[in-house]
Amino acid sequence: MTRFSLLVLPARFALSSPRIAAVVLLLALAICAVSLTRLAFEDDITKSFASGSVFSQEYEALIDALPSEPTEIIVVAQSSTPFDARDFATLRDVAFELELAEGVGSVYSIASVRFPNTHIAYPGALLLPVQINAGEVGERLDAIQLAGIHSPVSNDRRSTLFSISLDAQEDASSRSDKVDISPVVDTIRNIISAFGGQQISYSLAGESLIGPDMIRALQRDLIAYNIVGGALAFVLALLILGNLKLVAIAVIPAFLAAFVSLSVFSVLDFPITVLNTIMPTLVLVLALADSVHLTLHLRDNDPGNALRIRVAKSIDEIGPACALTALTTSIAFASIAFSENQQLRDMAIIGALSVLLAYLVVLVSFPLLARFVGVSQQIVHRRKWALVSAGMVHWILRKTRFLLASGFAVTMLAIVGLFFLHPWFILDENLPTTSSVRAANQVVAHEFGGFYRIWSELEYSNADEIDTQKGWARLVDLTTAIENAAPDYTVLSLATLSRWWGHADQPPTEQELDELPRDLIAQLVSQNPASARVITRVPEAMLTPATLKTQMAIETAAISANATRTVGIPIIIRHEAVSIIRQLSIGLGIACVISVIVLAVFYQWPILAIVLLLPNLLPLIVTASSLVIFNGGQLTPVAMLALTVAFGIAIDDSIHFVNRYIVERQRGLGSDAALGVSIQETGKAMIATTALICAGMGVTMMSSFETIRMFGGMLILAFIVALFADLLLLPSLLRMRVFQR
């Protein structure tokens, strides 16, 4: 048994023992169907970027140290004109209703803002007097701004926010249990919808709402991908194959593969995330590409022979290439596991496993369907693809130097583009573009400085140390350093509270602290271990270059002022995004090297590793540098992921091409003749499958997630460049004497 026949063993078995193979396949599909009932969706946004790094660990340690997880929901109220007296009265009523709602702990709003006790004009007074007069509120807003207090009203006085801290949840049996905040969110929605619809509109924002909003869009997307992707696959297969029976042979294995891929999630107990939601569609198009290669070969090979012999021949000649494409794509997915990010690791496992399972499903179901459907001689040769004409083949083989020079020039140009890329990650891009939460998040970020929290922590040797003059001075210094680094952001600590109470040089009294929400105090000071924290309200770290700069300044200032650590989701995002991109880059490099070595070893042709690198790196380099034009040079983790997946799929065409070239050489053809046949015969299948894959990935353009659209767009660009590279560059390279077999 040769290494080639080993790779197609499942198909050979299905051909020789169709009944047993059919039973095994049906049994496996039944198990998959049952497991689908456990399919779950990820709603924890922190998992999008968190890993086991020190930043994630410190954040988790802080949250665990708090008596309850600080859950917060933001309500943004907006008006087309500046708020008048009636609006302010309404906003106060909204605040009261929110504060009285079940499950709400405290609400920071225009109704709760108070002047410092030391204020000359309004000592200790609320921002909103009992009798509201727009002129007076305006004066008070000016006064509070002058006093250096960040008010929850925007400068244009057309928007305001209500920051709602939820009650500590006691019903979760442990901190790891997910607390269901949906009843409180529903109550809040009811309150704001009762007040909305007139002069003022209300919307919800906040970390806690990103997850649920994401899930709804994920579910919509998953259904849309599968329905539209399936319909597109059917129509394109019909166009390419020209016969319903052939379409069935090509399409059904691909659908079964996608179905198995979906069940991999539930069998492994991995939730569907923004990153991996595309996997079943990806597997569908990959499996379809393989089965189209097989079906085209079946259609066109020796129509005079018996069907069983023709199927066996297609399996023997195309099957090994299908196996190798599955292997290299699987290697590419597995390389994603180099990331420390759990979601990416899950995706690596799901991707690698799904691709291998898809290969098995295609290889077993193809011979079964071919025999069951029955491809008679009457239906063959009805539709000939003439996309790669003899003239084109001749031109490609004549213009070797020109094509190589052009390939080199494009590569160099694209490499220049790589220097303009920089790592970037925006969490809100994990939300659908249509999301009202995303829109509200942006209002909060632009008008109020953001709702994310950075905790800068000072450690003390014991709980009493903070009350000493030296201990208190440390906290005051840290607070001042952060305020200077981020003058536009809200900074909160015991020091800012003491300043507000009029005794900046002394810690707050117990009685003063007793007036504040307990969950807030717990975030600011801890007895065991003794520590004090400064909270800075910030937008996403990479919202803009300016926000990134400020957050770097906050971290630097905090550490310079002797903070033991700075902790928070923005900190994780800032550090992890760069780290994930670096890890994915290493993974991609390793995937490239391993894949070409595996192919060189399999075909026992060492120099093939070098030959394959150029046409397969070119699509990656061109696609990556296209980000300079399409994404402002921002290289996101999703973009890196797309490049890795693109490599795994783009190399498939090279494998089919090289496989055909080797088969033709083994039949005794010379190099140019073998290349000519490969360009003409494999070329049409490559064009057809590239069209199929691009159309399949085209469904991502329907996605409400811009990350998914970018992912799909990058893949499509990579596949098109890969097709040109494989049709034009690869034959030119193989014609070079140094690379000839």
Binding site: R92, L100, S106, R114, G124, A125, L126, Q511, E515
Partner: protein
């Protein structure tokens, strides 16, 4: 201090006094859900600030006891309240209240007089240790209840006034 004044005033307000013509226990008729709106001062000389409350009261007939729970908010503070009031007979009442975890921090005694009832209670300033005496008085109409709280020695204006309806 304001939290104490606030809490006791509100809890006391949950007890709806009957019209003299109405039959049955005062506490029994106080059972149900209540919404209140009014004002309070942070301290005796501070300006008025709006407050709103929602309370739920449940009567246990066997023990002549009214259990009250709810939430009040105003001036940026929310107070979660719970308390128990017992009809001791002969127009006398006793009660305990709590805010959050401070269960049983303060006790109060009351005396009924027609449509009015006056609770007396006292609170200690944690910073100075000074003890201050307060009163909370209700004036009950047929369909609404007004509650007022002030210093027992009347040395300052009223501190809380809230009107409740069912």
């Amino acid at each position: 201090m304001i939290r104490t004044v606030f809490a006791i005033s509100i809890l006391a307000a949950a007890i709806q006094l009957p019209d003299t013509a109405l039959a049955g226990s005062i506490l029994e008729r106080a059972a149900g859900k209540w919404s209140g709106t009014g004002w309070a001062r942070r301290d005796a000389n501070a300006p008025r600030e709006l407050v709103k409350c929602r309370l739920s009261a449940k009567f246990v007939k066997k023990q002549n006891r009214l259990s009250v729970s709810g939430k009040c908010t105003g001036g940026g503070r929310s107070v979660r309240l719970s308390g128990r009031f017992v009809d001791e007979g002969a127009g006398d009442f006793s009660g305990k209240w709590s805010t959050g975890s401070r269960l049983g921090a303060d006790q109060m005694t009351g005396r009924q007089n027609g449509n009015k009832i006056r609770f007396n209670w006292q609170s200690r300033n944690q910073k100075t240790g000074k003890v201050t005496g307060y009163f909370t008085q209700w004036n009950v109409q047929k369909s609404k209840l007004s509650v007022a709280t002030g210093l027992r020695d009347n040395s300052a204006p009223l501190m809380v006034e809230i009107n409740f309806t069912r």
